[in-house]
């Protein structure tokens, strides 16, 4: 029965493709392996349902296709069967939802020792800001933005003076330290997206959004924009470099603070307490 066979091959082919696919998620670089586990659970459950339904359907086509003299059964409903299927589906759904919600809870609960850093999106580049030795980021306002003050810091906020500003450059992060990534945009929606981090979040003008991560391996990773932001959306790129803490501090020493860049108040050399960033 050609049709039944083709249907069966679609099911088998899909499973084989899944198992052999060279296209699979990138090696993870943060603590969010829980997300990968939840995806795996979902693949198992949905893969089972998909295969079962298609194989059953192919069998029906094979077994019950029209032949001379065949008469269909008259079988309007079967309450018991329908209820069992409903309950079984409910269990399957719960088995995916429960771990999903648990991991989501972790995702939105930032650990208290996380360092706050800031990513700012604008058409079509990324800028980054790290807190200075006071460990705090200064306040900002989009109305302050000018060529000397590309991230719009408030000049009279003392917390902002020692903030490290990286305009249109690459971000460095120390391995093993949780960071809360504060996200903002000055023009349109953007989305700070590093595939290896698993986390992503839109950046919305007028708001500060966030996610948190703990980098678990060193390396250089591509930053892409994942929310359509206009003509050069696809070219809005940067890199994140996760490195050992000593290298990170060596890099940080070379970065300019807001005070240095704006040339206003006394130039304060950035110095960092250990563990900060």
């Amino acid at each position: 029965m050609a049709v039944a066979l083709i249907l069966l091959l679609v099911a088998i082919g899909s499973v084989v493709f899944h198992l052999l696919s060279p296209w699979w998620w990138t090696p993870i670089a943060t603590n969010w392996s829980y997300i990968d586990h939840t995806i795996n659970i979902t693949f198992w459950i949905t893969g089972f349902v998909f295969t079962a339904v298609i194989v059953f359907m192919a069998y029906c086509v094979f077994r019950f296709h029209h032949k001379e003299g065949r008469q269909a059964a008259y079988n309007p409903e079967n309450k018991k069967l329908e209820w069992w299927l409903t309950i079984g589906t409910g269990i399957g759904v719960a088995a995916m939802l429960a771990p999903g919600l648990v991991v989501w809870h972790q995702f939105v609960t930032v650990p208290p020792d996380a360092t706050e850093i800031e990513v700012m999106g604008q058409q079509w580049q990324w800028s980054f800001r790290l807190p200075g030795k006071d460990g705090q980021l200064g306040t900002t306002d989009v109305r302050n933005i000018s060529s000397e003050n590309p991230m719009g810091l408030n000049r009279d906020d003392p917390h902002g003076q020692d903030d490290v500003i990286i305009e249109n450059g690459d971000l460095h992060l120390p391995i093993g330290k949780p960071v809360k990534v504060l996200l903002r945009s000055v023009d349109v929606l953007h989305d700070f997206y590093v595939p290896e981090f698993r986390a992503k979040m839109d950046m919305v003008p007028g708001m500060v959004t966030y996610f948190w991560i703990k980098p678990i391996r060193t390396g250089t990773f591509d930053v892409l924009c994942a929310e359509l932001c206009g003509a050069a959306h696809y070219q809005m790129r940067a890199k994140v470099i996760v490195e050992e803490e000593s290298e990170y501090h060596a890099w940080l020493e070379q970065q300019k603070t807001f005070a240095q860049l704006s040339g206003g108040s006394a130039v304060t050399k950035a110095a960092y307490k250990s563990g900060g960033g």
Partner: protein
């Protein structure tokens, strides 16, 4: 149904309709152009939707050429690429699928299937089509305005939709919003007809629980649309005001091309909530008619009653109701209040249960059936595969934390194309093969139909199934070029080229279908009144194609549900809904 008392109906006399208050056309113009006959309006809707749908198909070819062979086609620059994806998406979702299912199939099938002579407000029904046509023409005009159509993505998210970094910011976005506003006005006029006709104009004996599932699907989808489109309407009006009048509904203080803009105080997220309050029910506005139609195709061509009819009806209604409390699953990474995630993930996964029940009941209908592998049946089977596939990947994206890595990647593109592109279009095609004989009186050519089916189904599956894995890898959507990225291997580009080749093949196979539609109109085998030996009322009309007023002198009387196939003891393997019970001998039958 089993528990509808049958003695009560047996004595119902035929409805007397000596003086039908129908508008009777007096000229060629009022018969075929400014017609108030729902059947003519249906064909007008279907032809217009298909015409603009073909435009969207061509746009998708250009988009695929760019994705498959980046750098080869210099005439597709980044601006044009964004315009292609935007227009493709908007046309397909709104101007093709919504219009075709509700305006096309709804207009043709509702009056015939419920045993009415026409829609209850024929004049408004006619207006609905003409406003829809105007909306389509306005939309098409955006290809010719200065700066071209909008490239804001079909979701039209502000601020970028109306700022200068986005193509079509001058005219395209204004024309798009105007077209959407017109579409909604036109749809509302039609939608009121579909709802009121289903509720008020059913013939004698046609209880709600005897309606074919096609009518249940279209009816529920229309109710959803009447409740959901107003959100898009106000969103469009407010965005138009932001663009034209300088209001700031959706616009916070922001910098536009290095300069502080005049806007301030608005919320970009507000637009997203309005858009998706419409946008999620929209998925079911397309899916529910497909669910209904495919139920009837499977039942008819498997010569078996639909399994679990009552559960099927309740599933349609439950899905429709739940579809209004899941919208923010499109916004998990939008920056909205993160604790919404728990609620929307839960509602979204719950909706999987009634949806799964529908799938089980379709395949259980096949069990111990007498499956005729006609072209409509093949399309129905293919629908089940693609819908199950696309529905299951919805469980990834609906489960908030799983959505985080996958959102805005090709996984999402693959998912929604499979579930609300390929699956409903397979139903549309199956439905055309099924009902074309009633509309024209002639059968479509079968070998051509089978050829069209296999290329379309297998091709579409080959396009979208592997695409999920590009998304798993992390390939983002809406990218003119992937460019340099360490995580994207060369094999991903090869896969993109493969998808493009298959997409072009599937696209050209549709030309075979168009040829079949035209050729069979003149040369097709004569169909007779009921070629599929189906039970529902539209196959029992005195004339084929049905005449003005559908039923001749007397309206049909309905004695049974729509699924009396292969009733034990009956002479034929189907009993039309309007066939009176002969005697007690068929009392065991489901009535």
């Amino acid at each position: 149904m089993v528990d509808i008392p049958y003695e009560g109906i047996i004595e119902v006399p035929p409805a007397e309709v000596p003086d039908v208050e129908l508008y009777h056309p007096r000229s060629w113009w009022t018969r075929y152009v400014f017609s108030q006959d729902a059947k003519v309006i249906a064909v007008q809707y279907a032809l217009t939707a298909s015409a603009i749908g073909l435009v969207a198909l061509v746009l998708s070819w250009m988009m695929r050429l760019q994705l498959g062979f980046p750098g080869t086609f210099s005439f597709i620059d980044p601006n044009q690429y964004l315009q292609l994806i935007t227009m493709h998406g908007m046309i397909m979702v709104i101007f093709l699928l919504t219009a075709l299912f509700l305006g096309g199939f709804g207009n043709y099938l509702i009056p015939l299937m419920v045993g009415a002579r026409d829609m209850v407000f024929p004049y408004v029904n006619m207006l609905s089509y003409w406003v829809y046509l105007l909306a389509v023409l306005v939309l098409a005009a955006s290809f010719f305005v200065p700066g071209g159509p909008t490239g804001a993505g079909w979701t039209l998210y502000p601020p970028q939709a109306i700022l200068s970094g986005t193509p079509g910011q001058d005219w395209g976005i204004i024309v798009m919003l105007a077209s959407l506003i017109l579409f909604i006005i036109g749809f509302t006029m039609g939608g009121l007809n579909y709802v009121v006709t289903t509720l008020q104009a059913r013939t004698r004996g046609m209880t709600l629980m005897r309606l074919p599932l096609t009518v249940w699907g279209i009816f529920t989808a229309t109710v959803l649309a009447l409740l959901a489109f107003p959100a898009l309407f106000v969103g469009s009006v407010m965005l138009l005001f932001d663009r034209l009048l300088g209001t700031s509904f959706f616009m916070p203080t922001l910098v536009e091309m290095g300069q502080l803009s005049k806007y301030g105080g608005g919320s970009p997220l507000l637009f997203q909530h309005l858009f998706w309050f419409f946008g999620h029910p929209e998925v079911y506005i397309v899916a529910l008619p497909a669910f209904g139609i495919v139920s009837d195709l499977i039942s008819t061509h498997a010569r078996k009653n639909i399994f679990g009819y009552r559960m099927m009806v309740w599933a349609i209604v439950a899905i429709g109701a739940l579809s209004f409390v899941v919208w923010a699953h499109h916004m998990y990474v939008s920056g909205m209040y993160p604790y919404f995630g728990y609620f929307f993930a839960t509602t979204t996964l719950i909706i999987a249960i009634p949806t799964a029940i529908k799938v089980y009941n379709w395949v259980l209908t096949l069990w111990r059936g007498n499956i005729h592998l006609t072209t409509p049946m093949l399309f129905a089977l293919a629908f089940i595969i693609t819908f199950v596939n696309g529905g299951l990947t919805g469980l990834f994206l609906g489960n908030v934390v799983v959505d985080v890595p996958l959102s805005d990647t090709m996984f999402v593109v693959a998912h929604f194309h499979m579930v609300m592109g390929v699956a409903p279009i397979l139903v549309v095609l199956g439905a055309i093969y099924h009902w074309y004989p009633k509309v024209t009186g002639r059968m479509l050519n079968d070998p051509l139909g089978k050829f069209h089916f296999w290329i379309t189904f297998l091709g579409a599956y080959l396009i979208f199934f592997p695409m999920h894995y590009l998304g798993l890898l992390g390939v983002p959507r809406r990218y003119h070029e992937l460019g340099e990225a360490a995580f994207i291997p060369p094999s991903a580009h090869t896969l993109n080229a493969f998808i493009t080749v298959v997409a072009l093949t599937v696209g050209f196979a549709q030309m075979v279908f168009l040829f079949n539609l035209a050729w069979s109109l003149f040369k097709g085998k004569a169909a007779g009144g009921n070629p599929w030996r189906a039970t529902t009322l539209e196959w029992q009309t005195p004339e084929t194609p049905p005449g003005h007023g559908n039923w001749g002198k007397e309206l049909p009387v309905v004695y049974r549900w729509a699924y009396d196939y292969s009733v034990p003891g009956a002479k034929e393997d189907f009993i039309p809904q309007n066939q009176p019970p002969a005697a007690r001998s068929v009392h065991g039958a489901m009535l």
